[in-house]
Subunit: 115 residues, 2 copies
C-alpha cells in the first residue's frame, strides 16, 4: 500500500525526525522492521550479537536446516543487516553495524515494560 503522508510532515516529533520527512521513509522503515519480524532471522541477529558465526553453527544452534538459515541470511545481507567473509570452507557472518543491536534492545525494553 502506498502511504500518503505529506512530505513536510515532521512525523515523529524529535530532532531525528524533523530532518527526515515521513512519507518517503515510512516504507523503508517498515521494510527494516519486516526483516526483524521473523523469529528465525531475529534469532540469527541475536546470536550474532555474541560474536561472528558460520552458517552451520547458526543452523545447529537454532535447530534449523542449513538451507533455511542460508536463505534467511541472504535476506539479512541484501538488507545490509549482516555482512559475510569467507574463511576456508566456511562463510562467517557478522552484524553490519551496532544499530541493529540498539533496535533489538529498545524493542526488548518495550516488551519488558508492557507486562
Amino acid at each position: 500500500m502506498t502511504v500518503h503522508l505529506p512530505d513536510e510532515c515532521g512525523c515523529i516529533d524529535s530532532a531525528v525526525c524533523r530532518q527526515m520527512p515521513c512519507a518517503g521513509k515510512i516504507s523503508e522503515l517498515a521494510e527494516f522492521f519486516k526483516n526483524l519480524s521473523d523469529p528465525t532471522r531475529l534469532a540469527i541477529l541475536c546470536m550474532l550479537t555474541h560474536g561472528d558465526k558460520c552458517v552451520c553453527d547458526i543452523a545447529e544452534t537454532l535447530g534449523a536446516t542449513q538451507s533455511n538459515v542460508s536463505h534467511q541470511l541472504r535476506i539479512l545481507k541484501q538488507s545490509k543487516l549482516v555482512k559475510s567473509t569467507r574463511d576456508g570452507k566456511s562463510v562467517i557472518y557478522s552484524l553490519e553495524d551496532g544499530h541493529i543491536r540498539d533496535v533489538m534492545e529498545t524493542g526488548l525494553e518495550h516488551l519488558m515494560e508492557s507486562l
Copy 2:
C-alpha cells in the same frame, strides 16, 4: 518456526538482556516488530505521535479506506500498541506508551546512518 536458543543465553549482551533469556522472548519480539512492519500500521503509529486522532481522520490523511484503517487499528490495539476511547460518534486512538516512539526513532537512526 520454533527457535531453539538455550534459555540461559544472555542473547543481546547488555544489562537489559541479561535479565531476559532469549529463547522465550524471540518470538514475542518478532511479533512486536511484525506489527511495525506494515506501512499502513507504521504510518498510523507515526501519525499518532503527533497527537490523538479518530479513525476517519487517519483514513483521510493516509488515503486509505476506513475499513482498512479499522482493521489495522484492531491489530495495533490487540498488541497493545494503541488504545482507544469513544468520543461521541468518533473513537479516538492514541499511542499506548512512549516506547513505540522510541523504537521508531531508533529504527530511523539506523536508516539514516546506513546510507
